[in-house]
């Protein structure tokens, strides 16, 4: 890959994002990681396999939020609302109608995506921090609604028990190892799709909106449409993840979808590096696995965790694995 030499030749400008997007590790690196991923459950205890399962779930959620925050630059700090809608769609439909989880996965994604579209449509024009507080507001509205048990649907503070499991080749995916593979296969599929999307016209269009909305608009991009698409897609992936979460956690209750949860997801995206897919994977590791590693400190665990967050930001303000495209553009912006 050649670095952009700063000349304003049209062709190099156009080619830049395409070549610079290769912020993923090399083919060799990926193969080694996949191999480690496959043998990991045979080496680790059930406890650590479970940690890896939740890590995978947070990677999915982080990836979904990364579309909104990282790719388009919309400050969404209420993402767990869509996760909640997906989880509750699964829980309610599974409880009432006994639908299969394989069917509920796309259905929950659709429900959350629809909610994302409808809720974001009137507020998508808001900028920065105003959008941030509105999404927090939506998160709170949805959480309180779930808590207040409207029409006896959500089970109030106790939530709903999901008895069903994913069924594959006639057996339930229940054992931590099986679940581990299930989650990480979903992660792999999502990463594949999102990398393709990132390199596509839509992905570049999102980044354009993030970098300079007015210029993007002037170039004929329908920025409103681009933002809404990102919001809807992000919400849909979070919703589908809700099904996996419901199957893993068994009990779905409002306390899993608090403002704090949204803040954690937001942190994953920023900590990893905005718009960077490997960054999200590392960021969620930092947010999910690090507290487990700090377990030895028992009561001081979260104290150290807060400190670690501050230190990570001070020493790596651009994120753990920044998107290459992102930094290239930043450098360009500074040299103006």
């Amino acid at each position: 890959m050649t670095e952009w030499d700063g000349r304003f030749s049209l062709s190099s400008k156009l080619r830049l994002p395409l070549s610079a997007v290769k912020s993923l590790p090399s083919k060799w690196g990926i193969s080694v990681l996949i191999a480690i991923g496959i043998i990991f459950p045979y080496l680790a205890s059930d406890y650590w396999i479970d940690v890896a399962v939740f890590w995978g779930i947070y990677v999915l959620l982080g990836l979904s939020l990364n579309i909104i925050v990282g790719e388009v630059g919309l400050f969404n700090m209420g993402h767990s609302a869509f996760f909640a809608i997906g989880s509750y769609t699964t829980a309610i439909l599974s409880e009432r109608f006994g639908l299969s989880l394989w069917l509920l996965l796309p259905l929950s994604g659709f429900a959350a995506g629809l909610a994302g579209y409808v809720l974001a449509k009137p507020i998508i024009h808001l900028r920065g921090d105003y959008l941030l507080i509105v999404t927090i507001g939506l998160n709170e509205i949805i959480r309180i609604t779930l808590l207040n048990n409207p029409w006896g649907l959500t089970g109030g503070p106790n939530g709903i028990i999901v008895l069903d499991q994913f069924r594959l080749f006639g057996r339930a995916v229940q054992h931590p190892i099986d679940f581990y593979y299930l989650v990480w296969v979903f992660v792999a599929i999502t990463v594949f799709v999102l990398v393709r999307l990132q390199r596509s016209r839509i992905g570049r269009c999102w980044n354009y909106v993030r970098e300079d909305e007015i210029a993007a608009q002037a170039m004929g991009i329908d920025t409103r449409w681009a933002k809404l698409l990102a919001f809807t897609l992000g919400a849909a992936i979070a919703g589908a993840t809700g099904t996996i979460f419901a199957a893993k956690l068994v009990v779905i209750s409002p306390e899993s979808f608090t403002f704090m949860e949204s803040v954690i997801l937001f942190t994953i995206v920023i900590l990893g590096g905005m718009g960077s897919i490997p960054g999200v994977i590392l960021g969620s590791a930092a947010m999910m696995v690090l507290p487990e590693l700090l377990r030895n400190f028992a009561r001081y665990r979260m104290l150290f965790f807060g400190l670690a967050m501050v230190l990570m930001m001070i020493f790596r303000p651009q994120g753990l694995w920044p998107s290459r495209r992102w930094t290239t553009i930043l450098r360009e912006g500074e040299s103006e």
């Binding site: 808001l126 507001g137 979260m302 807060g306 501050v310 930001m313 303000p317």
Partner: protein, 320 residues
Amino acid sequence: MPHGGLWPCRLRQSPHAESMALFIEQLVNGLTVGAVYALVALGYTMVYGVMRLINFAHGDFFMIGSYLGFTLVSSALVGGAIPLWAALILITALSMVGVAILGVVVERAAYRPLRRASRLTAVVSAIGVSIFLQNAVMLIWGPRYRAYPSWAVPDVSWQVGGIYINLMQILILAVSFGLMVSLYVFVQRTTVGAAIRATAIDHDTARLMGIDVDQIIRLIFLIGPALGAAAGVLLGLYYRQIHFTVGWTYGLKAFTAAIMGGIGNIPGAMVGGLLLGILEMLGAGYISSAWKDVFVFLILILLLMFRPTGILGERIAEKV
């Protein structure tokens, strides 16, 4: 955890109360809580105005103020040696000083290194600070609810035209309006205030005018947390129960208030805080206390849909 269970709003509903009296009573309750929100919102808005940073740890400054006040009130230090009113003033002042020092330390340690970094980086650092402070408080004071002693403020109330007002409500209104007016005068009428306003507009130009920007930011981190701490002590005295998570619950409300008023705008934070308190109490009185926050956030969303920069926020022309 049932929502609103922390410090439940205390409604005194007499079966014979006329609807007008109920309305005014809710208004007074709302003003009381709103004054506290306004004090906390000022901290958010001032930091935002000068640094463009959403200080997620600000709610925790408020919470720590509340805990410091609790320790001071319960300590033997003030057990009768000086009159109660003097003790209360002393306690509030000491908590304010303590939290102000903490604010400056946090700014130096966690925000200053990130001043040149992207805004969201500093936000994550603020979230880290918040987690740190909450857990520090939990380790120091324990994870359970703590209660201010009931003798701290005599439970006196007066009946004015069919509604009840108690001493604590008057105290809260007096102290917070006093602080807000002094802040407003300070920012609008003094040279240092002018320096703060100049820094809020443009750091570099302010520096060229001979303003020490670091000093101004330090000052902001003295004033904001101090106001938050005063609010914490007042609210602790009012509702008695405190918990290490109230920083988030109240911080979120105060941040909402700051946005409602137009973030970065000092009178906006005051208006936003009072409005939010009133809306919340009217929602609790006329809809239901379980749905009051839904009501508040719906109003916020509607407000921002039609006035995207809040009540007093200015419309900033977009740069092309």
